[in-house]
């Protein structure tokens, strides 16, 4: 088994549906420590991505990830646009010209995406951001890739969920929530929550189809 371009399309379709469903929840999380627009912005961004990729033929990962990246950057703005955009862009650049890769190769490309987020956001693990969900998921995917695709994906989803929940006791050091200082403690990070949804949609698309 392997990871294919069609799985990327399916993942994004699933993510679009899930974000639509969780729109209010994400906005509530954001109103506690941010500016109450994360759900609205991600919902708008995902809708634009789906409009862009639906019915379009892609011969490699580079094309579909580039379209997703450029679309979310121009449709969302704020921090989420450039950060998720960079994640998709770097993965696509790593896998350019390929239409099917092993989970191990995908994990390496996702590490590139994660590095891009860290560089652009000048941020790392433990700052109460999306990185706290993505970093453990990428690590789990890489370390468990020899156990078979579905085992690796399941572990990645669990790692992302733990990472997301792990942001609750953290003190925010990046983004608008950082202005709250101590008052940011006790709230789950909305960006980490969306990132968990993203990882779980990739898992569902790859394992369940």
């Amino acid at each position: 088994m392997a990871f294919t371009v069609e799985m990327v399309r399916l993942s994004l379709e699933k993510l679009n549906v899930l974000i639509e469903e969780k729109r209010e929840y994400l906005t509530d999380l954001d109103s506690a420590i941010g500016d109450a627009d994360h759900g609205i912005n991600m919902n708008r961004g995902m809708k634009h991505i789906i409009e862009k990729i639906r019915g379009k033929e892609y011969s490699d990962f580079g094309g579909i990830f580039r379209d997703a990246a450029m679309t979310i950057m121009s449709a969302v703005g704020g921090s989420a646009g450039p950060l998720f955009g960079t994640f998709f862009m770097k993965i696509g650049q790593k896998l350019i010209g390929k239409s099917e890769v092993s989970i191990e190769e995908l994990a390496v490309a996702m590490q590139d995406g994660l590095d891009g987020i860290m560089f652009l956001g000048r941020s790392g693990v433990g700052d109460k951001t999306m990185i706290d969900a993505i970093a453990p998921a990428v690590e789990a995917l890489r370390e468990n890739s020899s156990d078979g695709d579905s085992a690796a994906w399941n572990k990645a989803v669990i790692a992302a969920e733990l990472g997301m929940k792990g942001t609750i006791p953290m003190l925010s050091r990046r983004g608008r929530s950082s202005y709250l200082g101590e008052r940011s403690i006790g709230h789950q990070d909305p960006g980490a929550t969306t990132s968990y949804y993203l990882i779980s949609c990739f898992r569902d698309a790859s394992v369940e189809g």
Binding site: T27, D37, V76, G77, S79, R173, G175, R176, R183
Partner: protein, 332 residues
Amino acid sequence: MKKLINKIDDVVAEALKGLSAAHSDTVRAIPESRVVVRASSSSPKVVLISGGGSGHEPLHCGFVGYGMLDAACAGEIFTSPTPDQICSAVHEVNGGRGVLFLVKNYSGDIMNFKIAREILEGEGVDVESVVICDDVSVTDSTWTVGRRGVGGTVFIEKIAGAYAETGASLNDVKSLADRVNANVRTMGAALTSCTVPAVGRPTFGLGDDEIELGIGIHGEPGRARVKMSSSAEIVEYIAGAVVDDLPFRPGDEVAVLVNGMGGTPLIELYIVYNDLKQFLGGRGIKIGRNLVGSYITSLDMQGVSITLLRLDNQMKELWDHPVRTPALCMWR
């Protein structure tokens, strides 16, 4: 929520159309990219481009025109503009002598301008940027995002804009903007929250007898929540924090901005200015130039911010340089 709007999704686009219709002699809006540019192009000069989330009007689009900005990009309410907006603003006004981005220090603005800069440099455009960070209510450290860009933005756009008009080089305009940024400090206080149209309810709760000291322009929390008091006492707290931060010293000559947050009437801003003049007089600080009005707002928030800039001769001369924009017009 009671607001004079039609559709929530159309708030920014319709406001830009209205701005350019009302000031067609000065500015032109490009609705599809939500960019506002000067109505007529000037002689080749360094171009100044700013932008940010909407909801702070007249900042930034109201400051496009002779003597200030060449273009401004309007994001959604309180959401940074996107790299393609910023690039199209540059394509529209670039005169080949370089581009200076004036960016308020918020994570989203920094990232979107950074990506735009990379794209433009790839096209061979000369780009520099200045990150504005004048809010003393935020602790500055390498572990945090750093200080927010607030009222000082108006002074930087005015003074750097005037300098660019004189034909100064990109490096010179950038160093001057950096110098203004290093000498300007601001703090604000909110009497009420703002209400974001798409959310429909106040961003934060504040009791009838409470105020938030050190508020940000998006309703971010400040240093302390205290009981409402007199204008003179509020001025003493916020101007005191501003003066102590730089610090401003006896004998300094300053430009001051007494800025309304959007929902505060001008009569109250003049009371604040009167209190500020007395307060600064007591500290031996002379007001050389002033601006009183609502220039960088937070939608319908009631409140005020006080900005002090330590002036030098060059800044004073450039302050007096003519400016003609929708929101700031001094012509002599």
